[in-house]
Symmetry: C2
Subunit: 180 residues, 2 copies
């Protein structure tokens, strides 16, 4: 038995490419572009990527909640799933130091998933209030969640290309994109 989740072909192309970025802002610009691309393919306005410490792409994910009929398929979750399948481990920390770059600060579910994934660093574009401003619920997160991650030795960097990330959220709303 297996569970098969359909994903867009363009995401496969991206994930087969060999991409190395000069800095986390460049990863974020790439991720934000994926979030924009995803909207035009029926997905939500969110994307994420897992990179090695030297900023080589391992896997990118996008929000496929509605098209894949799966409420857990947020961008961060799909990026983690694809990265772990590619590297053959449920614990990324067992094989290196990895960075999760996400176009928007994680919701309560994705935040809870981060410590289990073994990533060493989380880099966020838009803030949770930016997602909330267009009507997306971020869930009940612990107060000072950034400090909770840091207490688990997971670094957190925020507001990277925040304006560009917000622009995609805004574009989604203007196109009448559904909320969930």
């Amino acid at each position: 038995m297996s569970l098969t989740i359909p994903l867009p072909d363009w995401l496969e192309s991206v994930n087969r490419s060999h991409l190395v970025f000069p800095d986390t802002a460049a990863v974020m610009a790439f991720v934000i572009e994926l979030s924009r691309r995803n909207i035009s393919d029926g997905g939500g306005p969110f994307a994420a990527a897992i990179c090695s410490e030297s900023l080589e792409l391992v896997a990118a994910g996008v929000n496929r909640v509605v098209p894949a009929q799966a409420s857990i398929l947020h961008a961060e979750m799909l990026a983690l799933l694809l990265a772990q399948q590619k590297l053959g481990t449920h614990d990324l920390s067992a094989v290196g130091r990895f960075v999760l770059v996400t176009s928007c600060a994680p919701c309560a579910m994705c935040l809870g998933a981060i410590p289990w994934s073994g990533v060493a660093t989380v880099v966020c574009g838009a803030r949770e209030e930016d997602a909330a401003a267009i009507g997306f619920d971020e869930g009940d997160k612990p107060v000072a969640w950034q400090d909770k991650l840091r207490s688990r030795a997971i670094q957190v960097e925020e507001d990277v290309c925040r304006q560009q990330a917000m622009a995609v959220l805004q574009a989604y709303t203007e196109q009448g994109g559904g909320l969930y």
Copy 2:
């Protein structure tokens, strides 16, 4: 492109069965049995099921983190994935009122996933401190998480067959099962 997650054949058999339970304790007893079965197949000591309001099984899931190389594949997450695929929607509340029955109180990630899934009720066996007692980390959950769910109109029932659920956790430890 698609993402394929391998699952055990016995789980497929269970999910193809037509099962209707007399009460939530009977669902829990079934779920606890799956959690025990899962240990002998390389999985973690956790299982969950989604049932309709009339307690007909929609889908059961078990913890496949290590064998499927996927840190997000907790029992609750897999049960939600399978139930939503079966019913063809990312939002279970769009097609009825559903119950999530889990052998152990949800970790931070699964707790965060619950409001997005559309389930109406959550029924828990073992408590988070029972999982913590054998070394499993439940993550940083909001204080009074049960009240947070209730404020979203999601009912919470706890300690259903708690002793039987704890016995499986204990058996897992005695067999030297790994923690993650």
